[in-house]
């Protein structure tokens, strides 16, 4: 490009006819050459200043920022290790679990499992044993021993239909409650097993694994609450039946009183 320009310019200079053309070419050529010419070299003083400026930025702004960042991360580490998750307190919390297991678990189990059976006769002893054995596979035996202890429903020739219905309902709900309680006794043992397992794992838990245990414990509480509700429902049925039984007797008393009054009036009328 530069060579082409120079050749063209030289040819124009050689072939210029008049002085005016020569002056014009000289001006145009000089200006164009000045514009096309390579830039002058930088002064040495400017280069040193630029390097020093870069060094100043590194030693000033960047170093300060890195120092601050370092200090903050160091503070975060110290905060984690000494305030939020101090290892000594984590170990202390874990260490507390095992002695408590040793101190309470078996003792409470022994208290809970001590025999509370109190029947003295053969028939009642059988019923008491079967209703406290925490088994759910022998409900038929509960019915049999219950009948042995409390007697069967009267035959239809031996009692009024109302009496038979009420005694059957009373017996049914009493038996239903006893069976529900056998199931809930079994559930209590399993619930205690779940609590033991949770406590065992808590003895070696970490802050990050503990939320799983607490969540599982809360869910187990919901399940225990549901079982308590089932027991309460059984008790409600039983209490409702007892109330209904008393009320049915009240109804019958009213009927009998009316009948007796009528009979007395009839008797007096005859006399």
């Amino acid at each position: 490009m530069t060579i082409a320009f120079f050749l063209l310019f030289s040819w124009l200079m050689v072939t210029a006819k008049t002085r005016r053309q020569l002056v014009a070419l000289t001006l145009v050529g000089t200006i164009a050459a000045t514009l096309v010419a390579p830039p002058p070299a930088q002064a040495q003083g400017t280069l040193t200043g630029a390097i020093q400026a870069v060094l100043d930025v590194i030693n000033g702004t960047i170093q300060t920022a890195l120092d601050s960042l370092n200090a903050v991360r160091g503070a975060v580490r110290a905060f984690y290790q000494s305030v939020i998750w101090p290892v000594n307190l984590i170990n202390q919390a874990r260490a507390q679990v095992t002695p408590m297991i040793g101190q309470y678990r078996q003792r409470m189990r022994d208290i809970f499992e001590s025999d509370v059976g109190s029947a003295t006769l053969a028939a009642t002893g059988q019923l008491e044993a079967v209703m406290r054995n925490k088994q759910t596979s022998d409900f038929n035996a509960v019915t049999t021993y219950f009948r042995n202890a409390f007697g069967p429903i009267p035959a239809d020739t031996a009692a009024s239909p109302e009496d038979r219905a009420m005694t059957d309902m009373d017996d049914a709900l009493a038996l239903g409650s006893l069976k529900t309680l056998k199931a809930s006794d079994a559930a209590v043992d399993l619930t205690l097993d779940a609590a033991d397992q949770l406590e065992d794992v808590a003895s070696e838990a970490a802050p990050g694994s503990a939320p799983f245990l607490t969540a599982a414990a809360v869910v187990a509480s919901i399940q225990s609450q549901a079982l308590t509700q089932k027991m309460l429902a059984a008790e409600l049925r039983q209490e409702a039946a007892r109330l209904a039984h008393g009320n049915a007797e009240r109804k019958r008393l009213t009927t009998n009183t009316n009948r007796l009054g009528d009979q007395i009036i009839n008797l007096l009328k005859r006399n």
Binding site: M13, F212, A226, A233, A244
Partner: protein
């Protein structure tokens, strides 16, 4: 060859004479040539500018290594330390897996418990009592509508207005109402307890899939369910208390009516004796 040399010399002579005749043009051409000529390349070894640049770059490199590299190394060291601490002390994968495994194990225990609670406990032997028992053990709140009919079939209706005094009818009716309501509440509570067990199983499955950071959210949900379950338990206890309260009130009502009847009977006997 000689001819060519001769022509060359002639050309040179003509150029020289032209240059002598056009000195200004030659000066302008020379000036433009100087301006356009490429700048000489500076050697790396003897040019002082390169030496200064080399020293400057070396200084920058050294500063970068010391200041930035050193600072970053310090931060990296702390970050590694924090990472190790969090990985080994706060969130150790082995213990997280162990806790998740325990959740599965506890879920197995409650599955056993749930199957135990599903065993039938019905025991009635007569047709009417079997219907009532089946209804109140149904765990299905949709069957509450039939409870009243089955109840009346077993325990009888409220006496008619001509069969009993209004006070007695009132006591009988409220007692039947509370007994029936308790049986209906028992159906509701059984149904709710079954749903709570279902929900608990779902929440347990969520815990097994959770991360340490999401487990507290699931725990919060489980806590909400626990509060709800407590509320239902309270409702059941409230109905139980109502049953006992009405039982007590019924016993008191009997004493009251007995006193009234005794007084009336005494007055009637006195009147009878006076007549005789």
């Amino acid at each position: 060859m000689r001819k060519a040399i001769g022509q060359g010399l002639d050309g040179a002579k003509r150029s020289f004479y032209w240059a002598c005749d056009h000195k200004i043009r030659v000066v302008v051409l020379a000036l433009v040539l100087v301006l356009l000529a490429p700048q000489p390349v500076k050697t790396q070894f003897i040019d002082p500018c390169c030496a200064i640049m080399g020293a400057g770059l070396s200084s920058i490199s050294s500063t970068l290594s010391n200041v930035i590299g050193g600072g970053l190394s310090g931060i990296l060291s702390i970050e590694r330390n924090i990472f190790d601490f969090e990985r080994d002390i706060v969130w150790p994968q082995r213990l997280i897996d162990e806790a998740k495994g325990l959740v599965g194990s506890i879920q197995g225990i409650y599955a056993q418990i749930e199957s135990v609670t599903q065993i039938a406990v019905n025991s009635a032997t007569l047709a009417s009592t079997q219907q009532l028992e089946q209804n109140i053990l149904s765990r299905d709140s949709a069957q509450i509508g039939q409870t009243g009919g089955h109840y009346t079939a077993v325990y009888g209706p409220v006496p008619g207005a001509t069969s009993a005094p209004v006070e007695v009818r009132n006591v009988i009716d409220i007692t039947d109402a509370v007994a029936q309501a308790a049986m209906k509440r028992a159906i509701q509570i059984d149904h709710l307890a079954t749903l709570e067990l279902e929900a608990a199983e779902r929440i347990n499955r969520s815990i097994q899939r959770a991360a340490p950071g999401s487990a507290p959210i699931i725990e919060a949900q489980a806590a909400a369910w626990l509060i709800r379950a407590n509320a239902y338990t309270q409702a059941a206890i409230a109905d139980l208390m109502r049953v006992r309260a009405i039982d007590l009130a019924g016993a008191a009502a009997e004493v009251k009516s007995g006193a009234t009847y005794n007084s009336a009977l005494g007055q009637q006997l006195i009147d009878l004796l006076k007549r005789q």
